[in-house]
């Protein structure tokens, strides 16, 4: 499954939502149990939870009539993968640059005889 990076960034940019994730890391919780931990209104907690759900970082399941929230860390690995791609992008690019520049340098040297130790 692929997650939208923008959604993940938005989700984790908020300190309340990060705290919710920290709490859910300890174990699953209902919306009510989560609300008890915060000084913001229940609707506000619900809004944060739905943003977390949209990002894929939090999933919800039913236990009888209760809705229970769990943390799902998978989307975070998308962030890592994406940054890792950037790392590789520069590795490969700079390697090409090195080859090209060294080739050009050799050519320039060959066209100017006498400046190096060629026979």
């Amino acid at each position: 499954m692929t997650y939208r990076l923008q959604g993940i960034y938005t989700a984790i940019a908020d300190p309340y939502r990060r705290e919710m994730m920290d709490l859910l890391y300890e174990g699953e919780l209902t919306a009510g149990e989560l609300s008890d931990q915060f000084d913001i209104s229940r609707p506000a907690v619900s809004r944060h939870l739905s943003i977390l759900q949209d990002s894929g970082l939090v999933t919800v399941s039913k236990r009888g009539r209760l809705r229970v929230y769990q943390l799902n860390p998978d989307p975070l690995s998308e962030v890592f993968d994406w940054l890792h791609k950037y790392e590789r992008f520069w590795d490969e690019g700079l390697y090409r640059l090195k080859l090209l520049a060294e080739e050009a340098a050799k050519k320039a040297k060959a066209e100017k005889p006498g400046v190096d130790d060629r026979p």
């Binding site: 990076l5 984790i12 990060r18 860390p73 690995s77 890592f80 940054l83 700079l94 520049a101």
Partner: protein, 142 residues
Amino acid sequence: MKDIRKRVVIEADIELVWSFVTQSDKIAMWLMPNDFQAKKGHAFTMQCQVKDGSQGHIEAQVLELDPPQWLVYSWLIAEPRLQTQVSIRLSEVRGGTELNLVHSGWEPLGEDPEGLRELHDSIWSQLLGEKLRGLICGGGRS
């Protein structure tokens, strides 16, 4: 999120390497097609081929320029929308030129630029363990 830092030593003189990082046709050979001009303030785009075959582009602007050793450009990533920055420093070393590249600005913009770093401290390392940490540090197998 920490900066991406790359270093490479090239067996070519500094002026030649400088031409590869500041001439549009030469940049295209190792990076991406572009309309770069070596002028401070010049706005340019880089065309990138996305994996699925579609075209994306990077919006960029020359921020600092000090030939033949220092170049900084902004680098706007579309998805997720992030304003990042690339700096390239060249220095003469024995036998050639050392190039140091830093790609910075990975903190998510907006309300809480420290968000990712804090999250990294509190959750990433616990949940995802050393494997992913190794991945992002470039090791992968270590």
